[in-house]
Subunit: 310 residues, 2 copies
């Protein structure tokens, strides 16, 4: 049983109550605590040594990534983060300076986005370090962007460039909080998420939640320099496009808007964020699944679609 099947099984019959607006399955839980103008966004995310970061990674970058992943999920709903709790599970012989370095990276990112570190705890995990962050934020009522609102005909956009994140970006990315709020304030964003499992892995979440399909325009997919560089390595069997579709941890925003908004959005974006690329990479279609169009025609991209390109 893989992670996905297990989660399906576990989330079948979870306890709920009137505070829950959106439960498991979106980027954050959305809660109604009775604030007249806002809903709460609630998220946890963990990084584990040897899995999400290699032993030997600088402490500051570990702290940055641990908090950054959570912030990226708040961004995916166009929310504003407010307060975090940090759970630090440490081997018994930890070096205090290393732990301080983790906090130093976390604190710097938190300060940039006005997030309080309001507490947490330390516990023991003998074999490896694990950091779990719980994050509380909010979004204006009716303005938190879910995965489920994509409509047939929508244009699909992605920020930044995709692929090759392991070369460094996965430890240094800036969560797209400012950009996401600007989007939601200025345009009607139908569906959004942050790309953490690769475009081919995450776009299906929007499609499934919205019960639609998608056609991607291959030449429009923004491929990072790192993905191109990696593809040139002699040992590589991965094309740059495959890297952009498949590599995880880009932490870019993937979203859809009505097609009539596509050009005004691109124009306004360029004026607002001249240093961050925004690409229209395809459109939402009737039916199921993803197809991809290139100069040779249109091909289906299966659930494990990137395999077609390897």
């Amino acid at each position: 049983m893989n992670e996905f099947e297990l989660i399906q099984r576990l989330t079948r019959s979870l306890p709920t109550n009137k505070s829950v607006v959106v439960g498991p399955g979106d980027d954050c839980a959305v809660l109604d605590f009775g604030l007249p103008d806002r809903l709460l966004l609630f998220k946890t995310d963990a990084v584990v040594e040897g899995i999400h970061f290699a032993p030997g990674t600088p402490a500051e970058k570990i702290g940055h990534k641990a908090l950054g992943r959570c912030l990226s999920d708040i961004a995916a709903m166009a929310g504003t983060p407010a307060a975090a709790l940090v759970t630090l599970a440490l081997p018994r012989n930890f070096e205090p300076e290393f732990v301080e370095g983790i906090y130093s990276g976390m604190n710097a990112l938190a300060r940039r986005h006005d997030v309080a570190i309001a507490g947490g705890e330390t516990t023991t995990n003998p074999e490896r370090m694990l950091i779990s962050i719980a994050l509380l934020g909010s979004a204006p009522r009716g303005k938190s962007v879910l995965r489920s609102g994509a409509e047939v005909g929508d244009a699909i956009f992605v920020t930044g460039e995709l692929g090759g994140s392991l070369a460094g970006k996965h430890l240094e990315f800036e969560p797209r909080l400012v950009e996401a709020r600007w989007l939601a304030q200025n345009f009607s964003i139908h569906a959004m998420l942050d790309v953490s499992d690769g475009l081919a892995g995450d776009l299906p979440h929007i499609l499934k939640a919205s019960r639609v399909g998608a056609q991607l325009n291959s030449p429009a997919i923004p491929i990072s320099r790192e993905a191109r560089r990696a593809a040139k390595a002699e040992s590589s069997t991965k094309t740059p496009l495959l890297a952009a579709l498949r590599d995880g941890e880009d932490f870019e925003l993937l979203f859809t808007v009505a097609s009539k908004d596509a050009v005004p959005l691109l124009d306004a974006w360029k004026a607002q964020f001249p240093n961050l690329e925004l690409s229209c990479i395809g459109k939402i279609t009737d039916g199921e699944g993803i197809t991809i169009r290139d100069k040779e025609g249109v091909r289906p991209l299966s659930a494990h679609g990137y395999e077609h390109f390897s």
Copy 2:
């Protein structure tokens, strides 16, 4: 460097913002999100296999304990829990039935207290299972009970019985949510926490936060049957009183009220909760530290005070 020293070092310069009413150092973080009548309570707590529960512990009890510990911290502030997120870090060869058992124990406890499980995540921790719970609740403005309000002359109370929790209670305890809210609604509770590290370990948190001392009345300390039974074992060198002072994970409420409220509180409690013991175990004093009075006189209880009794 021990856990306590590390936390002191880390919490010196954490980022904060206007949402934070109470940051690190109390049972929960207290946040102001602009609700007119309530403040939010925010808490995380983790249990680790081999540390907080033994390998072979029934899955349902692990789930109960993981959520129960967090609920107990909401109780310690006289709050009402609303929604939890569950982070499950699992070895790769986990048994799905075991994970379902964990959720079964957690869900049953959550339903009893009207807590939603609003999401979470699974990740990999190769060597052992770790469960981290993030919990969001609330308390009426001005009614969340901190550790810092104890006053000289206050009577010190504890619910239930202390010691011997490892015999089973640590996996089965019921968080004192109902009792704590009743206390805060009907009496002016000056300071409160839940006893997780033993009376001798936790009372100092109230004393330090309130800048007062305490005198305990040894015969009044409620010693559990399990602590007495363990003391009778041939190999035991631990007296029942030592167990009550030192054993952790009782998850009972420890609180102080003005001395004039002590008798009315005891009377009202007996009528309200006839099946749960409430004991007045001492008083808050001027100065620092804890003394303990028995038939032989008054002795100091040092920071590691239980050693006097071993």
